[in-house]
């Protein structure tokens, strides 16, 4: 089997034993990137020399007898919203084109410490705002299952890179579903850790009370290994949880659901959901029952207002966070001809540097926070947020995990929703509640929709700091389905 088809765990073991060098592993992935990138466009930046230098350092550590971790020498694609000192960091925006940050994000630093070899930076919806990666200022990424369709978003470069075997692992960030939705529509695993379980330091902010870094992988164990490598307390992030991290790798290895209480969210299904998505979801429910889980239906009535609450809270926070792009200290500056004031230069720069979705959200957020509208919009959305957290709390008195489809539909065609914001926002219908309440949630492949042959994701939601439960259930589903299919879901994907 070629190196690019191997799992991260296998690659880590091969490098640790010395059977394969980290340089060979990196080169195999760089070759794959060169072969498929013209069609996929998952990366904004690839630099073979920087990548190979990291790989050589891992090989040198091994030669010196250093104790290497399980992911040392394993390549990774890094979402271009985390700062990196040795690669540009753009957040998919013209306003940061060519920007070189002066420091590494905590997630970046921990990838380096684990000996992961960063292949490059992946494409995303500008400032992580979107569900298709079409909002990138640098062109859309294509879904490896069908190049005419989106790979999800905002972390669509990261999902496509893993699904196209350009990298065994990638990083993402999930503010309203930006890891789980792209994972679902590309047939891979994507995890949103508990809010505060992974550090936001050096993550370019979109909505600070929601933004959560997390892993992508082609299987559950690999996702858990990466999760463990970069999560945990960080003094540089004031919202980081100072508590022991859940043992997610152990849970992924165990994958046992006998006796586990599983709740099906009544509010997610029916009208607006693609039949093939619902069919695979109902099969997953039966599968969990056959594995010994006790499945019941659970009602979470406030989840139906999660989407409107999110599209008030997230743009409000974004309008404030993106005020930092003022053309003064870094990034683009437009119109500074010696006659214009700082304020005029600022307005010209922001108009030229931000794309349409970012502008829409800044204006929407400014509106929601305006005097006279604040109570009716932002204030009311914050109350809905409380109700959603209470629904989760009540549900987790009855069950150990909640499940739903990850997305209402499979991957949609590029261009279909590009200028229809409300249609685009619906892609996050099922993923948003876990962001508003801070819960852990994962998406694991559960089959292909009959009508279009495209991947469907099963979402598993757990309480705050119950990340291990997500991995436990996801691993059980994955094992049972792979037995049935005779391999992973990606083995059914058309070759590139």
């Amino acid at each position: 089997m070629s190196l690019v088809r191997k799992s991260a765990a296998e690659l880590g073991a091969l490098v640790a034993s010395g059977d394969v060098s980290a340089v060979e592993v990196a080169q195999a992935h760089l070759d794959r990137i060169a072969a498929v990138e013209p069609r996929v466009n998952a990366f904004l930046h690839v630099d073979a020399e920087t990548t190979l230098a990291q790989a050589r350092a891992v090989d040198a550590r091994r030669a010196a007898g250093d104790d290497l971790g399980p992911l040392a020498g394993v390549p990774i694609a890094h979402k271009d919203v985390f700062t990196t000192t040795d690669m540009p960091t753009t957040a998919g925006s013209k306003i940061l084109e060519g920007y070189r940050p002066p420091y590494d994000a905590t997630v970046t630093r921990r990838l380096r410490e684990a000996g992961l070899v960063i292949l490059g930076k992946t494409n995303l919806d500008e400032f992580a705002m979107g569900s298709s990666t079409e909002n990138s200022a640098f062109g859309p990424t294509r879904n490896p299952w069908d190049l005419s369709r989106v790979p999800g978003g905002s972390s669509g470069g990261s999902s496509a890179a893993v699904a196209a075997y350009e990298a065994p692992l990638s990083t993402g960030t999930d503010t309203g579903g930006s890891i789980r939705q792209p994972a679902a529509v590309t047939g891979i695993v994507g995890m949103k850790p508990t809010y505060g379980g992974s550090s936001r330091y050096g993550l370019i902010a979109f909505a600070s009370s929601l933004d959560t870094p997390g892993p992508f992988a082609r299987n559950v164990l690999d996702a858990a290994l990466l999760h463990e490598a970069f999560s945990g307390h960080d003094a540089m992030d004031a919202t980081s949880i100072d508590a022991p991290a859940p043992s997610v790798v152990e849970a992924a290895r165990q994958g046992e659901v006998a006796g586990l209480r599983v709740g099906v969210v009544r509010e997610f299904g029916g009208e607006g959901y693609q039949p093939g998505v619902l069919a695979r979801f109902h099969e997953s429910v039966e599968l969990l029952e056959s594995l010994g889980a006790k499945v019941v239906e659970v009602s979470c009535p406030s989840f139906t207002t999660a989407l409107p609450a999110y599209y008030l809270i997230a743009p409000s926070e974004a309008s404030s966070n993106l005020a930092r792009f003022d053309a003064m200290r870094y990034g683009l500056r437009v119109g500074d001809d010696g006659t214009r004031s700082a304020e005029e230069v600022m307005a010209l720069t922001r108009a030229a540097g931000f794309g349409p979705e970012v502008k829409r959200r800044i204006i929407l957020g400014t509106y929601a926070l305006s005097s006279g509208y604040y109570d009716a919009y932002y204030g009311q959305a914050q109350k809905v947020r409380t109700l959603i957290a209470r629904d989760f709390e009540a549900a987790f008195h009855q069950v150990d995990v909640l499940i739903s489809p990850t997305t209402p539909t499979t991957a949609f065609p590029i261009g279909e929703r590009a200028d229809d914001p409300m249609a685009m926002y619906l892609a996050d219908l099922c993923t948003i509640p876990a962001n508003l309440a801070g819960n852990a949630a994962i998406s694991v492949p559960c089959g292909l929709a009959d009508e279009d042959g495209l991947p469907v994701g099963l979402q598993i939601m757990a309480p705050v700091l119950g990340d291990d439960r997500c991995y436990r259930v996801a691993a059980a589903v994955e094992r049972a389905l792979e037995d049935r299919w005779g391999g992973g879901l990606l083995s059914k994907a058309p070759g590139l």
């Binding site: 919202t239 207002t305 500056r333 700082a342 005029e344 307005a347 349409p356 409380t386």
Partner: protein
């Protein structure tokens, strides 16, 4: 109808009013976005639709529900007030659009001519 329902109804009625192009232009000025006329037209129509949809939050009876600004219970985090390594001036200025005398050079910030 309860008092709380009555309040919600009033809110719904108030929120039914569409956002105007002039309001969007005002918000763009507040947000320091120099939008072109055609952008304003386009956004006004889209924002009207989005605001119509998100206004559904007003239908939730939540008068006695405390707001959550955050997912987790948080308290302020302090660290010892001691000198620690930080960026050098050269590092901090490296990505600046314009630099003069080891400082960020900015366009004029006052009303009078430079």
């Amino acid at each position: 109808m309860t008092v709380s329902n009555c309040h919600s109804m009033k809110r719904v009625q108030r929120l039914m009013s569409a956002i105007t192009r002039d309001e969007v232009a005002h918000l763009a000025r507040l947000s320091r976005l120099a939008l072109a006329d055609e952008e304003l037209d386009h956004f006004a129509a889209q924002l009207d639709q989005i605001i119509g949809a998100v206004a559904r939050v007003a239908e939730v009876a939540a008068d006695d529900i405390p707001p959550s600004s955050h997912a987790l219970p948080l308290t302020n985090v302090y660290r010892p007030d001691e000198v620690r390594p930080c960026l050098t001036p050269a590092e901090a200025l490296a990505a600046a659009p314009a630099v003069e005398d080891a400082r960020f050079r900015v366009p004029r910030i006052l009303g009078e001519e430079a």
